[in-house]
Every structure is written in C-alpha cells, then in structure tokens.
Assembly symmetry: D2
Homo-oligomer: 245 residues x 4
C-alpha cells in the first residue's frame, strides 16, 4: 500500500513518516509539507494519505485527495459539523473514497471509552480518575469529561450512584459530569493516565489506560491506514474500524 504523509516535517508527521518506513506492508510514496504541491500525491501513485497538518489547510487537502480518489486518515483538529458536512458532500461524488477523521488515535484510549460505555449499565457505581503531568491547563481532561458523558448516557435509565456522604470538604467528591464524579490528579512524573472504576455488590471492575509517551497515536494511525479503504464515505473516530462486537 502506497502511503503519503501531509505535514511530514511536523512533530507528529515526521513520526508517521518513520513509522510508515518501518512497516513492512506499507511504502512511503510521498512526504508533503507547507509549500509542496499536492500533485506529489497523484504523481507518486499514493493510495492513502495521513494528514496531520493545520485547520487552515486541511480542507484544501481533503478536497484534492477526494477528487483524486485517494483515501485519507486525518488527525488534524478543528472539525465542526459544518466542516464534516462539507467533507460528506465531496464524498457523495466519489462513493468509493474513504475518509477517516479522528480526535484520538490511541487505541487504548478508544477501547477504554468503549468498554466503559458497555460496562456502565451493569454496576451500581461508576467514577472516573484521570491523572496527568502538572503542566496541564484544564481539569478534568477532555477525554475524561467525554468518557463520563458516555457513561452517563449509558446509565440514563438507572438510578444514580449511591452516595451517603453527608459531611464533605469542598471538592472531595470530585467534579460532577452528568452525575458521574470525575477526579483530576496532577503529579510531576506522570504523562496521561485514566481509570474508570465500576462497582457493585462484592466486586469492582477497573479499566485503566496509561499513555507513557507521545507516540501512542502511531499504532492507531497505522491500523486506520490499513483499514480505511474498507469503510468508504466519512468515518469519525477509529472505533468503527475495530470491529468490536
């Protein structure tokens, strides 16, 4: 499979260049960065592009690759409903082309959320603890907030978590995200970690995800590159490619 990287000199892009070169079943067909013509993609017979560029240029990139029948795996941010609608409309004219846009390629993070959602119905109590390095600006993390909302949605017909707390210091019981307590730890030495704790009579289930370095997106992007063509049209998130049943 012939694979090109858009944004090839960026931090993430250059990591993906190396990862494609190391993969036995993939060939690096082109490296494209700011200033390079997109015709490098068609000239090189590229079948799939990986786009980690910038919100300012990603739409032009997608228009070009879709028109030229090239599949795309996109980690660039900034996709709102309007942009997703535009991509869908371009794809209507090219029904065989597949575009996958994902906010998070770390397979462990995606599975973690999926499992939390599945398990949430079967336990009396669910809470989330997320732990990050102390340079993080927001608490809770976006991933933890999203995980909590997915859990709350899965439990919308269930009674709330039992909780007899009558005397609490402010903040002790965490942030309330749609009824799910979320606790944010900020600790020197940590990277990015999350635990979903589920409990019922006599047993608990814990789903923990640890990101230990900044390259944890690589296996997920490669999985998407290999599988995207089997999902023509627009796919948001890598979950549909995981064939979870």
């Amino acid at each position: 499979m012939r694979v090109a990287v858009l944004g090839s000199k960026g931090k993430v892009g250059s990591t993906m260049v190396a990862a494609v070169q190391e993969a036995d079943d993939l060939t690096l067909s082109a490296e494209v960065d700011a200033g390079d013509p997109l015709s490098l993609l068609t000239d090189s017979g590229t079948e799939v592009v990986i786009d980690f560029t910038h919100p300012d240029v990603v739409m032009d990139n997608l228009k070009f690759v879709i028109e030229n029948g090239i599949h795309a795996v996109v980690g660039t941010t900034g996709f709102d409903d309007k942009r997703l609608g535009q991509v869908r409309s371009w794809l209507t004219a090219k029904p065989d082309v597949a575009v996958l846009i994902a906010p998070n390629f770390a397979i462990g993070a995606v599975l973690s959320m999926h499992f939390a959602k599945q398990a949430a119905r079967f336990f009396e109590s669910v809470e989330v603890i997320e732990l990050h390095h102390p340079h993080k600006a927001d608490a809770p993390s976006g991933t933890a907030a999203r995980t909590a909302r997915l859990i709350a949605e899965a439990r919308k017909d269930l009674p709330p978590n039992p909780d007899a707390t009558s005397t609490a210091m402010e903040g002790a019981r965490g942030a309330d995200v749609d009824g799910i307590p979320v606790h944010s730890v900020r600790l020197a030495g940590l990277v990015a970690h999350q635990e979903v704790l589920l409990g019922t009579q006599g047993e608990t289930l814990t789903i923990r995800h640890d990101s230990l370095d900044r390259t944890s997106f690589v296996p997920g992007v490669l999985l998407a590159v290999r599988g995207v063509a089997e999902h023509p049209g627009l796919t948001v998130g890598i979950e549909p490619l995981l064939d979870l049943t």
Copy 2:
C-alpha cells in the same frame, strides 16, 4: 415476576432468597430444599427458578421445571456436553422455555474476559496476573487460564508477544498458557483478583477485576432472572444477556 429458589437453605441459595426478597420487582414464590416436593413450584405460580443445588439433583429439577413451563437460572456445577445435550433435548418440546446455565455469575469477571478478548488483537503484548488468597490449591486459577486461552485464540493470526529475555530464573516469566504468560500471586488478605495487561507503542491498557466478597454472584443472578425469558432455549454463560456490541 414470581421467583423460587431451589437449594434455598444452602450458602448461595439462602443469599439468593434474601436478594429476591429485597428486590422490588421480584416476588419470592417458593423456597425449596432437599426433601421438599417440586410441586411447591407449580402450586406457587413460579415463573423463574434459581437453582444452586447439587449435580445429583439438578437434572431432575430441570426436567420438572421445563415440563411445567418454568424458566431456570442455574449455577449448579457439573454440566458436561452430555448433560447440556439432554437439557437441549427437553427444551425442544417446550420452545418457549428458557434455561440459562452459567459457571460464573460475577458480571465483572464476565465483562473482564469479554473486554480482554476484544482488546487482545490491538496490542503487541498481553499478559495476565491473577492474585488470590493463599488457601487456593491451583495456579493459575481456572478463570485466568480460560482468559489466557480466549486471548490466545483472538491473537492466533498475530505474531507472539515480543520478549528479549535471554537470562531468566526459572518461573520468572510465569506460566505459558497458549503463548500468554500468566502470573499467580498468593497473598494473605486477598480474595480473588485478576489483571489483564495489554501494551503497545507508548500505551498500555489494564483490565482489572476484584472480587471482594463471596456475594459477588448476586447481581449477575438477578440480571439473569430478569432477562432469561427473552432468551428461550438453552444459554450457557451470562454473556449473551449483556447485549454487548
């Protein structure tokens, strides 16, 4: 829903009698123990029986309830292929009756195994650590061995775990269950615990199940009682009732 307990004076049975009495949506229709006539079930209008009895009597119990159109949730042990075949044959004549036989009703344990199986394909490495009280006779535990076999089956088309170990003390790398290392810890103070560790570039996913007391089967049995009627015929294990997708 009218629910009877067979083996009502046993350790598990009496716990289930109490659990049915406490559940708002269930009515305890009969308590049946050794020496009591099974007609107590039909006389009391029982819709579902819970059977935690003994391999010697469970087949007679099942024959009676199936013939009388009563659904059954069975935790009694000793079901081999021959017994399961016999139950299926009785059910052929009563296509509306549902029988669920499960070796493990702890929902956390069942989900744990299901998630491990789903996640196993997406990680380079998988290992299992099980931790139990020191009175346990076998190592690894039956659940850990079964979990490892399910993981190995899910990974049968993948390369083995990477492992550069060249100098090892005997036993350091655990037991090899179909290529998956399983480590057994025996520690005073513990009950029954299991961790599945999955790792790939830059990230790990850990699925941990803790059984903290001997009543962790209760929520799973109640879930089965409430859902069994929607699964006519024979069902083995509670997984199909969890509607996991």
Copy 3:
C-alpha cells in the same frame, strides 16, 4: 503470656477472644463483659488486657488494671488530652506498667502513613486518593485527612505542588487539606482503600493500603499485646512498637 479481653462479647472483642485462643504463644485468661467484676482479671493472673469497650467504662477499667500492675492495649475511642493526662498520672505511681492506646490497629494503615510522611520531602508533588463503600458519611475519610496533614507538615519548607490548572470544573482537583489535594471515591463493592501518590521528574511512587475485611485490626492488636510490656508508661499509636528506622 496470659491475656484477658474486656468487652469480650462485643463485635471486636469477640473477634479478639478467638484470635487470642488461636495464638500458640498466648493464653486467654479471662473474658470480661458488662456486669462482670474486674476481679476476674486479678483472679486469673492476667498479664495484659485488651480493651475494646466503651468511653463510659474504659477509664474505670484502666484505673483498675494500672493499680493491679496489668498492662493494657486499648482500642476504645474517646481519648482526649484530659483523659490521656489522667492515664499518665495513674502510670506515674506504677512506672513498670505499660498502656498502649491506638486509634487504628491496622498495621498496613499505620505503615502507609509512616512511609508517606518519610517520602513526602523527596517529591515535587503529592496527592491522596481514598476509596470507600458508598455508605460512608464523611469525605475525605479521617485517615486520609490525617495522612494529608502529616504529608503537609513534612513538606512545610518545600514549594507547593506544581499545578498549571487554569480552567477547572468545581471539585475536579479534589479537597485541599493543608495544600495536599485529597480525592474521595465512593463505590459499591469497595471496603476501605487509600493511595498516596508521589511524583518527581521521570518517576512516581505509590503507597496503597487496602482493608478488605473488618478484621484487619487483629494482627496489630496481637503485635501490641506481645510488645506492650517493653514500652512502660503511656504510648499512643502502634507506630513506636514497630521499631521503624
């Protein structure tokens, strides 16, 4: 060693009666409960008493045993400075008698706090997570609050935890106990658990204590019974008996 139990019919007392009977090196000399004369202690040649009674009677018990040269290990609650002063004054007249009064006999909990205190100086960040069953009324737990205060005391000459949080949901960063964030999880299925997390450049240290059943005080009480005589006078807490260096 001849050991008597005061409050022998109470929940904790009866557990201690059984524990003394099972210990090869201890002899149960007397069981004393409400209404029984304290002379049972002197008549039976008791050397050490275990007192798990009630704030209303414990002072009379202590006066009697001290006057009669019997050592005491006390788990009864309600000791304020005034009561401790009274005990000290009785002991002045009997310099060979040893009384140990402890709020917590779980050795794991005591060591956990001791280690947290020792390690706290060497890490940039420290946070505490405590996890309990959902029937608990206070958050954080008394043990977690005390642990955080000990940690804060050990760090009083250090800069505060680094924390770049600029956007936080209310409660996300936990309760602030003297500058140490404490997070309280309440989850069905749990008993009593606590983690102290310490982090610095590139590494973290976690000290976790799990109480899995209500008898975790037994080994600590037995340790105190065996060692109390070597600590004449009043000792508060079992830490001094652990000979930690």
Copy 4:
C-alpha cells in the same frame, strides 16, 4: 555551590550539565570529558564533582578529586569490594572529603526498597512483581532480585509465606528468590515498574514504583550533590542521605 560534571558529553552527563544549570542554588563550574585535563576542576574552584564516566577512568578521577579536597557523587558502575577499599584508603588521608557512590539514584526506587524492608516483618505474605519493556534481557530485574533478598533477610526469623498451592503449571508461582516469589512481566509500552505486595489478615499494602522516563536519576543526583559534604568518608547508596527514621 560550584559543581563540575565529569563525562559531560555522555548521555547521563549532559543531562546532569543541564540540570545543574537549571538549579538556582548550584553553579556549573566545569564540564570535563575524555581528553580534558582534570586541572579544569581545581582551576574552576569546583566543590563537588558528578562522575558518570567509565570504569576505566573513574578511579583516576577519584584519586585526583580526593587529593584536591573535592567531594564526589559517582554513578559510574564497576565498583567491587577492592575498588571501594582503595577509595576508603585514599579518604583516610583526607578525612573531610566525602565520596558517595550509588548504583541507583532514582529516589523512588531507593525508598521503595527501604519501605519494603521495613514493612516485610509485619505481613504474613510478601511477593514482588516487576514490569519492564520487552527489550530487557534478564528476568527478574536486578532491582527486583535485590529487593526480594532484602525482604527475605528482614523475614529470616518469620515463617515462610503461606501457600496451599498443590497443582501448579510450571512458572505460575514465579521465580523463588530466597523464598520470595518474584514475577516478571515484559510488555510493549512499559518502561520500568515494580510492585511489592504485602498481605496479612484483612489487609494488604502495596508499594509501587514507576520509572516513566530515563531522567529519573536527576533529582537523586542533585540531592546527593547538595548533601554529600555532610557525610565525609565513603558512602554507598543514597539511602543514608535521606535521613529516614
């Protein structure tokens, strides 16, 4: 305090150069690498040297700094009893000079071992789990083996871990290091991690150390630089500088 780095262009050395430069209370007095004259140290008024060089040159370095009244913090490997004896003999002539030689500067690892040793006497059972990346050649790790031996030494007057295992797969119960089971996990995505699990009736204590990147030695080396002068003579390991009581 004026601090020089020997081996300043090596991987560890250059990290220490940067760390000294960033520390407000330390001044980088000299950077010395292969080929540079040691007189750079005396010319620059160096008070403490950090030596991460090579077994071939470290002894010459130490002879020079001791003779010139400069303290040393040494992470270079290869010190056997003979070499330590030689260093001690040089120090006899210079009783004010302090040399600290340590095999491991990660404070978390050192504390972890210290706490394990302290706690080991108070629990019925102790086991060790170490978890590393899959490129590691030996199992168990040197640190885990050393930890287990220290635990075994602390428990030499206690009965062995209780263990009723009668049917075990080969390797399930781990490696036996002086009676302490040690389990080695090798998992993609991990760096270097260790858990000491201690258990007794109703409770467990877990001491976990996680090294998340290769710079975890920095805080320990800086602590040694700041404290070494108060420990004249030869010190092996950073534990004595931690003032643990």
